[in-house]
Amino acid sequence: MRALAAAGALALAGAHAPAFAQQSPYADYQRMAAESAPIELYEAGGEEAWKKPQGPKQVSLEKCDLGQGPGVVRGAYAGLPRYFADADRVMDLETRLLYCMETLQGRSREEATKRVFGNADQASEMELLSAYVAGQSHGMPMRPGVEHAKEKAAYQLGRELFYHRAGPWDFSCASCHGQEGLRIRMSELPVLSDPKHVRPLMATWPAYRVSTSQFKTLQWRMNDCYRQMRMPEPKFASELPVALITYLTVNAQGAVYRGPSIKR
């Protein structure tokens, strides 16, 4: 049911709406909820954090190179994950932010990751920064790095991890996300190995989760999936979550980034 236009109705709608399957019974809900999500609060908090001098070196992150050159935020998220020569590894957004915190600001990994996932009362610094940086790629096609040998290796590792069964329930990601038609209660489970499914999903992370009123990131999502599989939670910004995020983003490549957005 469309809102009837009042005189001079404005078309402010849909900027951050996830691209959902047209048949989804939740299509209207997702569209309206995305339009009315408090995303800008997190983007603004992230911009503040980006510009705040911190650490022993008392500098901001404004010279951080997110892949498009030092300090270039616009479009950077759409190019991640990718290989960074200075670190000699593939990095996703959060891993790269952590790298800049350590190298530019002189902060220790321990201090910078002390509270890497926030809660409903207070988002973490990493969540705020992710909202800000990702928001600056809104509307751009996602083109993670795929050419470099390490980028290919990260993809392969991610793919292997996706299918690797372990833990007390003998689960892999594919157990839930490897075939069509699976559900947890009323939520349809997307097939993450299928570009058709994964494009609209990766185009809408990081996201405000309405069920918990928290802004969450991909590193958190990987962590929480492992927790739900009853496996040890992966170390933040380590090779495992980066490989999985690479696998998912490469599967989704070409999708127009529509985030930050909302999730249930």
Partner: protein, 103 residues
Amino acid sequence: MAGPMKMRATSQGGVTEIRVLMAHPMETGQRKDASGKLVPMHFIQNVTVKLNGKTVVEGQISQAVSRNPVFSFRVKGGAKGDKVEVSWIDNQGETNKTEATVA
């Protein structure tokens, strides 16, 4: 301390649309925290929208408005450069406000 607010006011075709976000827990008083204790009621009760200093909308809201409320309002007219102010007061007497210029 009151959480941040963000607002955007845009004018098109003789109507100004105001979209305002406010960080607030909007606690119903029925939720339990991690230690099992009930979190006390804490929610915005009044929202006031002013255009160039004149009140145009007065909202009374309950704890059943979602956490981190986002509202949209519309006013007739409103030219670029006009000032919009939105303020709130909650059941514990906390207040906050934000201003924006119509774009």
